[in-house]
Symmetry: C2
């Protein structure tokens, strides 16, 4: 499914959250699609089930997946995500990153071009 860098300074469960988020955002994992079970994914990646669960819990609290006891964990339908808290964080991060990009010499045109690139890729894939 994907790889993790165990030697990284970043915690494994954070890497997992990021990777899964990317897969969901880029529609590799479709709406309501079932994710691998905690134990199954743990076996595939040869890491502890508790670590997987921690990542799933985080993803659920951020609104990216939902979990049903006895059934499994599923991708939260994109349109129905209503996470104002998460949106606020993203806006703040965007502002910081814009300031940083400009400081490092990027023009707003370059940045806008990146945005268009990503926007196009969303429908396409």
């Amino acid at each position: 499914m994907f790889e993790l860098d165990v030697r990284s300074r970043k915690p494994i469960y954070e890497q997992l959250v990021e990777k899964l988020k990317q897969l969901i955002i880029n529609d590799v994992l479709k709406e309501d699609e079932k994710l691998p079970s905690v134990r199954e994914l743990a076996q595939q990646l040869t890491i502890n089930p508790n670590t997987i669960q921690k990542a799933y819990r985080e993803l659920e609290s951020q609104g990216y997946i939902y979990s049903l006891k006895g059934k499994g964990s599923f991708v939260h339908p994109s349109g129905k995500v209503d996470n104002e808290e998460e949106l606020k964080k993203v806006r703040e991060e965007l502002k910081k990153l814009f300031a940083e990009a400009i400081y490092l010499g990027m023009t707003s045109e370059e940045i806008a071009a990146l945005l268009q690139e990503v926007e196009g890729g969303q429908q396409d894939d």
Copy 2:
């Protein structure tokens, strides 16, 4: 100068790097301005000098400040920062964040508006 959240999950030195970066980017700390010495800032914030040094070392490696033995640490002039590695990271982060923002329901117009806002604030303050 600023405050740190010791109870945060984030390492103190990382918080320090972020805060100082913001001050530099937003021109609160001007070009070639002298930063507080390692020991001085440590005393002000009541944290260990080694922690400050770690933050300064990180900021220097990212091109935001430069340090002169016996003299002090200073803000790197913005125009002369040429950190292609850092720029690459920022581009990647921007792409991820754009995808995430769109997924959470932001339109590219909203995102572009944020960019304009930040761009205007750079000259203004």
